[in-house]
Symmetry: D3
Subunit: 143 residues, 6 copies
């Protein structure tokens, strides 16, 4: 492994995978998809992890905050609350505020329907409760 | 209607609806949902438009660029290409770049699957072609 | 086949299948699912048709008008415009009005999202245009 | 607020919102979406509630019984059991029978698939059990 | 009922329904859909069961192992974990290996997304745990 | 690049990607996803292609025929007719018969609903027509 950097794409993607995973999933206690995959197939787990975390999440075309909000929107309308829990925590880890995450969820109501929003809001509330960040402060008391 | 501003919430929401619609859908030639709804029910069309455009889109909790990217993500995984066309145009109108829109679409592949991404990319390509913005410039020629 | 009625369940279900199909799909020019299925597998086509039309649609637990509106709602949120075309025509055949069908579609917006509603409304509009029933009369000109 | 009725659309929609909510959700112990939304954003909660309950549910284009069955159908195929619980209770409150609700759920099997029906039937059964309305009486003992 | 076999299609389909149900759902302790349906409507339960188990599952156009893997794939991307539990057990009953079922689930990731795969893998793991077949043996320890 | 095979995982995966793509998509005239992705982002196109074709499709845990039928089932219930076209062609290329593909599609009706099946059958019919393989021969003329 004494090759110069440009000859070691797999070394650098492994490094990117580790760094990005650390950034996103710091202090996340839920079972990680990577561990679930590994219990079935170690090679495929590595391939999936390198592709998703090392190739996709590590790209720098949009800021991590936007990448996470975009992910929250997708998981809200798909109604995938377990994966959403992971990415709400990742969104907080990269600097999104609870209010921005809530707004992103509400914005999808017109597209994916209100019940999907309700499920996502309950997921957000449960994450914020676990972190001692609930109730959220509201800017004003209503019209 | 000579009441002071604070007593006229409906006047201000009508104004917000108009301004936000103008910002998002400037130069959009596709049939607008509002016109479709009006052909069935004028009152309900007004209620829907005021709620969606005046109440929801006009909120200032996240920037318009983020609101549009979040919307693009939701419409991609739901596979709603007609509505996606409208919001790709809105995203460009508020200042998102084609590369940011493409990245948002690609990011959803892990959650909503690759075929949904492909449909969205074709929609994006057709909008960019119509606007003379295709092919997109790529930063580098690959590894 | 000279058995009395009570011994011939299959004769009576075949009769119910024919009658219900005639009621629902009178004057429907679109390709019927039954003909599509038959081109692949004649036996399975018969089984599917007997189950769906003879067993399910022929039940008398709710009026045919309600059964069709319920079906319109399901097909709207699932975004199945080709099947929706068939059941909008069936709904008109059993006596639903265009306004009732439109209202049913609009009612689903909160659950399945607005883009799904838009696709369904366009489908309804195209059926009404073909039947010379467009534009729909509106009760009042708005508030 | 001494204006005549025609000048107070927002007063009348607030009244409609209250009346319709009381009609639909009388004796419903589950968390209401309105309360969930309020815990995140009081203004948006009001806007959503006024639009959904005051504007949409309060319309008189189809009877409340049909509006609820249509809603049950949509929520069944979308597999949204928490929201379905609310609307099964609303359906019973406006006068639908358990057999009509069950028939509506079964009717969607052809469109949204049998597993979605099974989830909805379990939700219906649990509501009927809570209300002491289970087991349902069946008209006949089978063929 | 003394007719010769060829005149008794319903007798033979009832027999096929019983045999196929016994093959697929031997030792399955979960509530069967048939019992759920019967608690609402005995006649419809019989019709659904005859169609699904006697007509559809009993067909011999593809082997039972392939029919079950195809079903696992459909239920994975639709995210129907309760029905998936039944068909993972049916797949094992007809001779599919845990590794084949896992591979089928992983293969859908590209189409239905990774969160749907994760839910299905957890369902598979829980069935294997109940049967004392967990952890799965892996062919090699990774690259 | 003079390293022995075991030190060149990326060389071998590139080779696997090429071989598997050639096997599956021989004589497929439709736009390939890889070409669509490349027009947006060459690096990401390579990563996606290597992961999907080189890592996932090239695995040998289930036969290619089963892998394609499983894929057909997933794309049927997701209603992705463009991607389904590609995989119906891949299924034929690896040796599945039209009758096996049709049966796989029909089998999903119970899970994803009949309208999704109808869309997939039309897609299958159009591929078979293009290849001069339509109408399909049926074993018997029905009961």
């Amino acid at each position: 492994m004494e090759q110069p950097e440009k000859d070691r794409p797999e070394a650098s993607v492994a490094e990117k995978t580790r760094k990005t995973a650390a950034l996103y999933f710091k202090n996340v206690a839920d079972e990680k998809p990577y561990d679930l995959w590994r219990s079935f197939d170690k090679n495929l787990a590595r391939d999936l992890s390198v592709f998703i975390t090392g190739r996709m999440y590590a790209r720098e075309k949009i800021p991590h905050t936007v990448r996470q909000l975009v992910t929250v929107a997708a998981l809200t309308v798909l109604v995938r609350p377990e994966e959403l829990r992971l990415h709400i925590q990742a969104a907080l880890n990269v600097g999104c505020t609870p209010a921005e995450i809530a707004e992103t969820i509400f914005q999808t109501a017109v597209y994916g329907g209100v019940p999907a929003v309700n499920t996502a809001l309950k997921t957000l509330r449960s994450v914020l409760e676990e972190k001692g960040m609930w109730p959220m402060e509201q800017e004003d008391g209503g019209r």
